[in-house]
Symmetry: C2
Subunit: 442 residues, 2 copies
Amino acid sequence: MDVADLGLPVDVPSTALFTDHYELTMLKAALAAGTAERRSVFEVFTRRLPEGRRYGVVAGTGRVLDAVENFRFDAGVLGFLRERGIVDEETLRWLAGYRFSGDIWGYPEGEVYFPGSPIMRVEGSFAECVLLETVILSILNHDSAVAAAASRMSSAADGRPLIEMGARRTHELAAVAAARAAYVGGFTTTSDLAAGFRYGIPTVGTSAHAFTLLHDRERDAFRAQVESMGRGTTLLVDTYDVTEAVRVAVEIAGPELGAVRIDSGDLLLVAHRVRQQLDELGATKTKIIVTSDLDEYAIASLRAAPVDAYGVGTQVVTGSGHPTCSMVYKLVARAESADPKAPLVPVAKKSTGGKTSIGGRKWAARRLDEHGVAEAEVIGTGPVPDALVDRQLLVELVKGGQVVAREPLDVVRDRHITARAALPLSATQLSRGEPVLPTEYV
Amino acid sequence: MDVADLGLPVDVPSTALFTDHYELTMLKAALAAGTAERRSVFEVFTRRLPEGRRYGVVAGTGRVLDAVENFRFDAGVLGFLRERGIVDEETLRWLAGYRFSGDIWGYPEGEVYFPGSPIMRVEGSFAECVLLETVILSILNHDSAVAAAASRMSSAADGRPLIEMGARRTHELAAVAAARAAYVGGFTTTSDLAAGFRYGIPTVGTSAHAFTLLHDRERDAFRAQVESMGRGTTLLVDTYDVTEAVRVAVEIAGPELGAVRIDSGDLLLVAHRVRQQLDELGATKTKIIVTSDLDEYAIASLRAAPVDAYGVGTQVVTGSGHPTCSMVYKLVARAESADPKAPLVPVAKKSTGGKTSIGGRKWAARRLDEHGVAEAEVIGTGPVPDALVDRQLLVELVKGGQVVAREPLDVVRDRHITARAALPLSATQLSRGEPVLPTEYV
């Protein structure tokens, strides 16, 4: 893969600098102490879901695989680390040869997760694993936050299409990942051209108020748009007076007008009025798209309204109140020595303060009840009970440094729909509550 | 500037695709209608501050200038637009020659702003300006949200250093911009190496719990770190028992130990106990750094504690509850015809629903009282009153397509400190309230 093809800030030539300073100083100290090569197991998990949420959605896994593959220290990066004195020459030599050679297992992308779920497990030497903490967490914490919000919105939309249009409300590259995560969570399309280009997500769009205001009369703007885009276009009808705009829109485009968009006002009320007016004008097939600061609650409240599609911006790209997950990357086991055959010892932080974790390399399985509905997230460190062997959640993603589980985004999106559908019905209630599955440790 | 030097997602070769689909379809329709060349004025402003906030902070301006300079449609981008049928051949030809040739004025980066402040003004043909909407808003909405949170935190820290360490809680490239914006808002350092590389921000870091857990005993980990990093290092003391860890830390590093880091528990209580213990051990100059889900309120609550520095993660990179601003990019004036000499007509959306705006190209000035304290944000479309001529806020950023106002980040950071200091004292109260300056329209 070409350097220009990564996802990089200016002058950063690989994913290797999406790393916290302390990962390199720990590496330096461990190399000097002879502990860097101890075989280690790190796990990504979250201690809790955002308050009131019923389930989480794993998203970003595919992006993590790209980032791990491109995590290399080239001359520019090494020069920076040397110049700043961040590590010593021995560490720089070690970094120059860095390629992740370990194994990664994880929940497949699109799966749901719960507190304690071992969403990703990274295994290799301490040195090679400790460096991946920040980039893995950045991707999973961001993308999963957006996908969780998107999933709630797509539940609330109950089959009506959802357009992601939040690029302007988040960092320009976070926007591309957000469009991808929203698609995983059930959105249909995006307004973001970069997301269409990079991930093949269908892009849509019509016009803004500026287009109407550019023209001498609203009528001129509508005519220009219909002549350019065809009668199937979506006309924005709330620049001046909605009723007059709808009348002019149908006059110009005829009853074949594709849709009208409403971007302000009391959407429930306005949608009913506009539907009635369109029907009276014979435009019975013209659709109504609404787009004004929608979140999952507003979407749900419009279920009874004659709305055909929702455009969602701010709230989906910012995770609807929870712009990040609280996923952490913790050492859960490591070898007694640098000998590759040394047995693994479970380890865990012990001090008080609510940040303790459970040591040991974990498996996870989702137990179903007699009707096939999920009833518990079961996590353990010992042998997997026979009844759960076929219900295990972790799959192999990277084997000996090689990515083995790339998949198309539509497969991920379908997986999410299936996983969500297997949860108890209360999972899709928007009201605040406990996680819909209990986490059981065995 | 090299293509590899932009801030790009995989396979996106310029900033031109950080654009919403509708900007291109509006362009296509306007080209066909003969209105694309009408001279136009777009303004970036926000109708309100996030609830309870007293002031906003302009950040991202420097990144906007880079993005505008690199906004070009190369063969790869044009091929994508053609293949998807997003625009027609005439529009593709127009895009192939795109270079922004207009003028941009704006509040200088680091300035404070209020509801209605014309933070940025973009002037040129409708066609060249309409395309910049999404990329400009993405950058300003994200960066200003982070800078506003950072500014409140740096007020609350009252001179104690603040370390930005939130990269793991946000998109990996948003993290780089967030570190930059936090620095503008008054942070001292960052943990994010990419931000150090790209923007020269000082990076810091020491060790994680994983480093302690890797070793057979906490004592071994401390010794390894001190041997590698020197006695001036910061030891993390809350993996097992804080009191024992502090004792061992001073035993190993001596009273020259640089600092201890506390990452969990009741920080106020623990900081007092650790300070007392350090002093009793003779380590009177060893500092205490705290880092556990801090926000501006937690920082303020620790003012009376013996804390020497704060590490802040999630809350700064997610804007402390407000991960985006509500900045919009609106057409406020346009020419009556495509004639370059045609007079400008003020335009504004008129429909109800709280989304109206004020037409006309605006100036802005900050009026001071007799003590030199800011007392109002004055905005107008007519001539600037004599008394305010010298207090005008907009500066020229791009002239005829050429960037004319690049500046070092330290200049921006100093400007913010100066601008904040000129606000009434209540600006730095953390409690919810109204904007600290009223916006007056003349």
